[in-house]
């Protein structure tokens, strides 16, 4: 218990108590009345005294009650409070955690932790700025909301209305809890730099009140510098939460058009949970599977929590690009924000292809028929110059049509009829009159390519070194080989398809070239794009001619964006997890184009929403009294109330004594 104004109480006590005693003695000076005889009165008082063994005590009871009432009044003036903080010069900083775990609704009132934190903070504001006789007008309060980064919602002010309005503007984010920024902001703003304000010393630290569930990520290394901290713990440590901890997708080797989705589910509750998990594509449910997830285990020795995990693999399904895949746990729990995870399958990327040819037209015509971003036709000499001038980044794929470069290009390349100068490929002769003996028909290069009627008049035989893969085997040697040179994938076709085969007369050549360019151009591309995390910046790559750019958040809010860079726009920090859609209008397209970004909830740190019982900063441990209510309770209203009760008792006793009816 601490006292806000102890000296005021002592001063009042030193004056009032002697005054009361003096008044009490003055009160004992009785009114003199003349009666005909005191005979009967004397005997009556003797009767009273004889019948009241505690008469002396009764006589002093009123004084005793008055003294108690006065002491209670003085107690109220001294403003006692339970577990109070140092006043910090009357400056208080309310630090409000609005990270993802504060979205948990683990209490009976269906409010989120943030809502309860805001109510508690509002009560604290009311208490600090209640006004009236017993409240110092010197109180100033600042409000800082923090998740991944801290934000001053309200600078220091003594206006209760401003503080309450600022509290009402705090919204939940799905970011991580990081206290350091908030502490730094509090320090910066609570340090007095106004030399005119002589009443407040610069070194007076503020009192910090932290409203959080205690799941703070960056406590290690943080220390307080003289500030006092009160940890108002919000939430319970018996949370029921199943989270989509991880979601990934891969294309099966044998089904490059299909997508196989993997999901990991974590159970942060202690009980085993049975839940339905739904896979949706573009918002349409596609599969539902029931899973059983074991409960969280707590190491009794170390106290470490190990959530129960269950992985789930959905059957592969054919999926085009530019779609949204969502895995959702169909079960209500305390934290809904992590019940779903999304993946975006990005739209196809158009390739920039360089064709190095001595001037032949067939391959050029075929490539011109493909949907490419750019086709650059080069002579071997022009290629060498362009490579020297622009570097290898000018092309996504190079096609060498019966020519070879001086050195192996650092971009994927398709070599037709000539052995490239690579260490990974060793020519060992030629062969004539061949047919295809075998091929890997499921390989992306050979999909829909009919090789049965292919006749090769002449071919160069080359043996691939370790890591090379023969995709088509001729009757006399390898015909198509995939090999890698210094980490770059290449394809080598051992025959000239135009001059030495009957392929130009079959439709398989065009399909083969299309597959080859796509395979090399998209080699290394993930089937899905990497996911952003709440709290990060959203960066969208757009066409240079994009206009009317809009962002739609998972909440349905629409924000207009301006592209600072012709090909890129940014927005953030991202507050909520889920799918963010960026749409724009392109002059070449009738419909608006849409680009999706999935933002993940930081499940690894925020899904375990069981509250921490204490916050450790440096060598100090701050334990919450719990309950999410104001930690220190002013006691003066109780003292006033008891004082009134004592006065009423005294009045009752006095009327009982003096009242004669």
């Amino acid at each position: 218990m601490s006292w806000l104004t102890p000296w005021t109480g002592f001063i009042v006590a030193s004056v009032a108590v002697p005054l009361l005693l003096l008044l009490y003695f003055l009160k004992l000076r009785r009114t003199t009345m003349t009666v005909s005889s005191t005979l009967l009165w004397v005997r009556s008082t003797e009767d009273i005294h004889a019948n009241a063994p505690f008469q002396r005590l009764r006589r002093n009871l009123l004084l005793l009650l008055q003294l108690i009432a006065l002491l209670l009044l003085i107690l109220a003036i001294m403003q006692p409070r339970l577990e109070g903080v140092g006043s910090g010069g009357g400056r208080t900083v309310l630090l409000i955690d609005c990270s993802g775990s504060m979205a948990a609704t683990d209490d009976d009132d269906a409010r989120t932790r943030l809502e309860r934190a805001l109510i508690a903070a509002g009560d604290e504001v009311d208490r600090l700025h209640a006004g009236g006789l017993f409240t110092s007008s010197d109180n100033e309060t600042m409000i800082v909301a923090f998740a991944d980064r801290a934000e001053i919602v309200q600078p220091f002010t003594d206006s209760r209305q401003q503080l309450q309005a600022a509290l009402s503007n705090i919204t939940l984010t799905h970011g991580r809890s990081r206290l350091e920024d908030a502490l730094n902001l509090a320090r910066v703003y609570s340090t007095n730099t106004d030399v005119e304000d002589s009443e407040r010393r610069a070194e007076d630290p503020a009192a910090l009140v932290l409203y959080s569930d205690g799941r703070l990520q960056d406590l290690e290394g943080l220390v307080l510098r003289g500030e006092s901290l009160i940890f108002e713990r919000i939430g319970t440590d018996a949370i029921d939460n199943v989270a989509v901890a991880h979601i990934a997708a891969e294309r099966p080797f044998d089904r490059p058009a299909a997508i196989e989705v993997f999901a990991a589910l974590d159970n942060h509750g202690t009980d085993t949970v049975v839940a339905d998990v739904q896979l949706s594509v573009n918002g349409l449910p596609r599969r539902v599977e029931e899973v059983t997830i074991p409960g969280m285990k707590i190491d009794e020795g170390t106290g470490l929590r190990q959530p129960g995990r269950r992985t789930l693999v959905f059957t592969p399904f054919e999926q085009e690009r530019n779609t949204v895949i969502e895995v959702e746990v169909l079960r209500a729990d305390d934290l809904a924000a992590d019940d779903a995870g999304q993946l975006v399958v990005p739209p196809p990327r158009r390739l920039r292809v360089g064709l190095v040819t001595p001037g032949r037209r067939l391959v050029r015509r075929i490539l011109e028929g493909l949907a490419l971003e750019r086709l650059e036709v080069l002579t071997p000499e022009a290629y060498e110059v362009a490579l020297a001038d622009r570097g290898p980044g000018a092309w996504d794929v190079l096609v060498f049509d019966a020519v070879v470069p001086d050195s192996m290009p650092p971009v994927p390349a398709l070599f037709l009829g000539r052995v490239p100068p690579s260490e990974s490929l060793k020519p060992y002769g030629t062969a004539e009159s061949q047919v295809v003996l075998s091929s890997q028909k499921e390989h992306p290069l050979l999909r829909y390519v009919d090789l049965d009627s292919l006749y090769i008049d002449r071919a160069v035989l080359a043996q691939g070194t370790q890591g090379a893969e023969v995709l088509v085997e001729g009757s006399k040697g390898p015909l198509v080989t995939r090999f890698s040179d210094e980490g770059t994938e290449h394809l080598f076709v051992g025959f000239d398809p135009i001059a030495d085969t009957n392929w130009p007369y079959q439709h398989g050549l065009g399909v083969f070239l299309f597959n080859g360019v796509e395979l090399l151009g998209h080699h290394g591309d993930a089937p899905t794009r990497g996911r952003s995390e709440a709290g990060e910046m959203l960066i969208a790559h757009l066409p240079a001619d994009a206009s009317e750019i809009e962002l739609t958040t998972p909440d349905g809010d629409v924000h207009s964006l301006v592209a600072a860079d012709p090909r890129r726009t940014t927005w953030g920090p991202i507050e909520r997890s889920g799918i963010h859609a960026v749409s724009w209008q392109s002059p070449l397209e009738v419909d608006r184009q849409t680009w999706f970004e999935s933002v993940r909830f930081p499940v690894e740190v925020e899904s375990d929403a069981n509250v921490a019982s204490s916050v450790v900063l440096g060598r100090e441990t701050f334990t919450s009294s719990g309950g999410g209510t104001s930690r220190y309770v002013p006691l003066w209203p109780w003292a006033i109330g008891m004082c009134l009760i004592i006065l009423m008792i005294e009045w009752w006793i006095w009327t009982r004594r003096v009242g004669t009816r």
């Binding site: 009160k27 004992l28 009785r30 009114t31 003199t32 009345m33 003349t34 009666v35 005909s36 005889s37 005191t38 005979l39 009967l40 009165w41 004397v42 005997r43 009556s44 008082t45 009767d47 009273i48 009241a52 009982r656 004594r657 003096v658 009242g659 004669t660 009816r661």
Partner: protein, 312 residues
């Protein structure tokens, strides 16, 4: 200083105020009743112990030499041949004494106890004078007994009134004053008759002894205990709070806080005091009457005293 008990009612300054004219005529019909038969001094209207010359036959006795022959019953002599005298009852006057306590405690209350005693004495004296009784009035206090000479006949009523008007309160009493006053009164009083004592009888001691003295003379005694409303119900008349009560006679004080318990104890004490006085009076054949001073004289005489058989 509080005005509790201070007399504010108008005090009598003339005989007319002591006994209003209207009341005189109503009281003329009343007579004082004495249960005992006393010997009078003069011929009166009340039967005496003596044989006399009234018309009421009392007895016969043998003739002796010297007897008045007019009272010889000749009819008896004719039958018996012996002389007998006829004896008749004598009617004499009654000695009515009224003793008023003039101590300081009587000069208190609203209405004033001494004023009430004077009015009662005036009324009783008028009744006695109307019935040809010898009326004597005494005032007693710490300084002794003051007496008015014996009056007889209606014409002396103004003398009685003036004496009563001049009857001032005496000095403060000391313990034993009542006893010594009664002793003096008993010695001073001549003849026997009816003695009415008007007092509050608020004495710590000596009351019973004093009554024993006057009762021992053979008088028939009536004690009129006068109590002011402030004494009967002090709370109703304004007594409250933390007080220092000062005795008007002795000057002694007592500090009290007027509480229900104290008031209850006081009332019990007062009742016990009055009951003890009444019991002492009954034991000695003394009549007792407790009279609140706010009771009118007519009510006292016509209702209270008639009911007790003190007047008719």
């Amino acid at each position: 200083m509080s005005r509790f008990g201070l007399t504010t009612a108008p005090r009598p300054t003339s005989v007319e105020e002591l006994l209003p004219q209207g009341l005189l005529s109503r009281l003329e019909r009343l007579d004082v009743v004495a249960r005992k038969i006393f010997s009078g001094k003069q011929h009166g209207e009340r039967r005496s112990r003596r044989r006399g010359q009234s018309v009421d036959f009392a007895d016969h006795r043998p003739y002796t030499a010297g007897d008045d022959l007019r009272f010889v019953d000749w009819n008896v002599f004719a039958r018996l041949d012996a002389l007998f005298l006829k004896l008749y009852l004598e009617e004499e006057d009654l000695s009515l004494g009224i003793a008023i306590d003039t101590s300081a405690s009587m000069d208190w209350g609203n209405p004033n106890k001494l004023d009430t005693a004077r009015r009662l004495a005036m009324a009783m004296g008028w009744i006695g004078l109307c019935n040809h009784n010898r009326v004597s009035v005494h005032g007693f206090d710490g300084s002794g007994v003051r007496s008015l000479r014996t009056l007889r006949g209606k014409r002396r009523v103004s003398e009685l009134g003036k004496w009563l008007l001049d009857l001032d309160p005496g000095p403060p009493k000391v313990p034993g004053d009542f006893e010594s006053s009664m002793r003096s009164l008993a010695a001073e009083r001549r003849g026997r008759g009816l003695l009415i004592v008007c007092s509050d009888f608020l004495e710590a001691d000596g009351v019973e002894e004093g009554l024993r003295f006057i009762a021992g003379r053979g008088d028939e005694i009536i004690c009129m205990q006068l109590l002011a409303p402030e004494e009967i119900d002090p709370v109703a008349t304004g007594l409250s709070g933390d007080l220092r009560l000062s005795d008007v006679e002795t000057g002694g004080t007592v500090e009290v806080t007027v509480t229900p318990a104290l008031v209850r104890a006081y009332r019990q004490r007062l009742d016990a005091w009055c009951s003890a006085l009444r019991a002492g009076c009954v034991r000695r054949g003394i009549g007792h009457l407790t009279i609140p001073t706010d009771t009118s004289v007519e009510t006292v005489l016509v209702e209270m005293m008639r009911k007790q058989g003190f007047v008719r």
